[in-house]
């Protein structure tokens, strides 16, 4: 296994180079009404102009509350949904223009771990069939005779007993099922794995195990992760860089330290201030920022800055001008006209 990695490393870009570049990615879902003659009355702006780059071997955490477009972003990047506009370059080639054989090759390079381990495995397939399916779809990866051995090896890699190859998903616990899902994603030796909230459906005690597994696999296979989650502490544990999303846009992006210790966007600060602190001695000492109201509808987002309806700093300029995601203070990009550093996590 390590052979394959080193072989690849010789021909592929060196660590630190961007292997995935997303530019102005937009995904709108039309809202249709009518029974027979449907007409579009609006667009759900699920993802509205997202740009980031993913470097080799790094983990990019994507956080945001429910409905901010994180999962849609994952689906578009997996080419499960066509993008409305924007580009994504995988090693400099446009992912969304790929067809046929090239797309098949892309499928081998980018894989996904889905959120719910209870629905992401076909209940009527054995674990061997589930983890072996990638080889059936891409027969060039492994000759028929070797597939069984490869599946057993994969189960071993993710910490499952290879003897359980003939069992069915319902005979496993949630954490074990998620490991099966990870084994399936690993089968084709991808370079990028998009983790769509891989631990949010698991017990807290199991979350840590699965995250540690993901971390181990990253160093073993040189994987790059796009790690989507709504739990800031989960993202912090794994991520090198973090992007904070709100209503389809990235509001702040930076390294783990920049985001957690030097947040500049009010939304990031509010999110961080809500993270529970396990130390009872600092309880009550820190300031909790409470946001008023609800997330506006993505069908009709606010003008200008999307966060302005809930922001305590909002002024007239926020309604008129969309704040660009540029570096203003603290050395990392933040989409706020009044970005200022404020440490909220003790």
């Amino acid at each position: 296994m390590s052979e394959t990695v080193s072989e690849r490393a010789a021909t592929e870009p060196a660590p630190g180079e961007a292997i995935l570049e997303v530019r102005d990615l937009v995904k709108h879902f039309p809202v249709r009404v009518g029974v027979l003659f449907k007409h579009v009355i609006g667009q759900v702006r699920a993802v509205d102009g997202v740009s980031f780059e993913l470097r080799r071997g790094e983990t990019l955490g994507v956080v945001g509350e429910s409905g901010c477009g994180k999962s849609t972003l994952a689906q578009v990047l997996m080419r499960l949904e066509p993008p409305t506009s924007g580009t994504a370059l995988y090693k400099g080639r446009d992912m969304f223009a790929m067809r046929g054989a090239e797309l098949r090759k892309l499928r081998r390079s980018i894989q996904i771990v889905l959120q719910d381990p209870y629905t992401s495995l076909n209940p009527r397939m054995t674990v061997g069939d589930i983890v072996g399916e990638p080889f059936d779809i891409h027969p060039e990866v492994a000759p028929k005779g070797e597939r069984r051995a490869k599946v057993r090896e994969l189960l071993d890699v993710v910490g499952l007993n290879p003897e359980h190859i003939n069992r069915y998903p319902h005979q496993f616990s949630g954490g074990q099922r998620q490991r099966i899902g990870i084994a399936r994603a690993l089968a084709l030796r991808p370079e990028i794995i998009i983790c769509d909230e891989p631990v949010s459906a698991l017990d807290v005690s199991i979350q840590a195990q699965v995250m540690n597994l993901l971390g181990d696999l990253q160093s073993e296979f040189g994987l790059s992760y796009v790690f989507i989650a709504h739990d800031l502490s989960v993202v912090r544990h794994l991520s090198d860089r973090v992007a904070v999303m709100y209503l389809g846009k990235i509001v702040e992006i930076g390294t783990e330290d920049e985001i957690y210790s030097h947040p500049t966007h009010p939304y990031t600060q509010a999110l961080l201030s809500a993270v529970p602190v396990a130390d009872p001695t600092v309880r009550g000492q820190r300031q909790v920022i409470r946001l008023e109201g609800d997330v506006p509808s993505p069908v009709d987002p606010p003008s200008g800055c999307r966060f302005r309806t809930r922001c305590w700093k909002a002024q007239d300029v926020c309604a008129e001008e969309v704040p660009e995601l540029v570096t203003r203070v603290a050395g990392h990009p933040s989409a706020c006209h009044f970005a200022e550093e404020r440490s909220v996590v003790p």
Partner: protein, 323 residues
């Protein structure tokens, strides 16, 4: 059965942080014989062979098939021999099931009727489920305008009144001048399937729509699976259960419905015999000669029961959770 604790130790050594809690296995798993790949179908077959219900059902169905193929092995009486002096005679040593209104031996008629009744029931429900299942899967998977079109076509067919539709279809075929019993049964089967497929299509379409939105289909698409692979490997096994149950019930009703068509003069005719015709012929004599109804209806019930048991056993065997 492998020892779960060994797995825990191995995994821990690999730094994968597996706790005993997470490896708490259900003990109901099959005895692990590693190295021998197993699939849903081979597991289902292994399971079926051990189910008494399945074995009984198969024995009954095999027996009925033999009766259908070789009725002369089971009776030497001509099912169409009439002797009016024996009209409505109750069961006796001579005629185990008694005689009907026209003095025909009911036992012989039941034996000879097996062929056509079984053929109508089995072929009719198979064809119905095949047509409805294919169309339902396609409509459910592809959705959009194809779903709209196929669903509307289905509604047209289910909107036809059954008897009227049967008369129209069978009369249209009749004018082509076929007269052999087999061709007639074929037409009846075709008419039944044409008029009832929308129901099985609806059943499988709704199952397909819900299966399509499952994450495992998403994962398969992310792997680059073709639509056919998704339909056959992922959706079909998960859509089969409801339609299997429906098909077994349909089988019985088809055998009975065939009698309606015969009664109207567009189904089977003499000398072909069928259970449905016998049941419908007995309707005026139920109080004075109940055996006219009892024997053909009893055999029909037994047949339907066997197929329902078979369907249930197969459905249970295809669900790993119920094994």
């Amino acid at each position: 059965m492998t020892d779960p604790t060994i797995a825990t130790q191995q995994a821990d050594a690999g730094g994968a942080y597996v706790t005993a809690l997470e490896h708490a296995e259900p003990t109901t798993g099959q005895p692990g014989r590693p190295g021998k790949p197993r699939s849903l179908w081979s597991d289902a077959w292994r399971d079926l062979r051990r189910r008494p219900l399945f074995i009984i059902a198969v024995v009954v169905i095999l027996f009925l098939t033999v009766v259908a193929l070789f009725p002369q092995w089971f009776t030497s009486v001509d099912p169409n021999h009439r002797d009016l002096t024996r009209s409505r005679q109750p069961p006796s040593g001579d005629a185990w099931f008694g005689y009907d209104v026209q003095g025909q031996d009911i036992y012989a008629r039941v034996v000879y009727g097996t062929r056509w009744s079984l053929l109508v029931g089995v072929a009719g429900s198979l064809l119905t489920v095949l047509i409805g299942g294919t169309i339902g899967l396609l409509a459910g998977y592809f959705g959009g305008w194809l779903d709209g079109l196929l669903s509307r076509v289905g509604e047209v067919f289910s909107g036809l009144p059954f008897v009227l539709g049967g008369i129209v279809i069978l009369n249209a075929f009749r004018s082509t001048g076929v007269d052999s019993a087999l061709a007639l049964v074929g037409m009846v089967v075709l008419a039944l399937a044409l008029l009832t497929w929308p129901i099985s299509m609806r059943i499988i379409r709704s199952a397909a729509i819900s299966a399509k939105q499952q994450d495992y289909v998403k994962a398969a698409r992310a792997l680059g699976a073709s639509p056919w692979r998704i339909i056959f490997r992922h959706m079909l096994p998960n859509c089969l259960a409801p339609v299997l149950v429906y098909a077994t019930i349909l089988l019985g009703s088809f055998i009975a419905i065939e009698a309606t068509l015969s009664f109207l003069g567009i189904g089977l005719r003499d000398p072909a015999v069928s259970w449905g015709v016998m049941i419908s012929d007995s309707r005026n004599y139920i109080r004075v000669a109940p055996h006219l109804l009892l024997f053909p209806a009893g055999i029909l019930t037994l047949t339907v029961l066997a197929f329902v048991m078979l369907g249930d056993a197969v459905r249970d065997a295809l669900d790993p959770k119920l094994r």
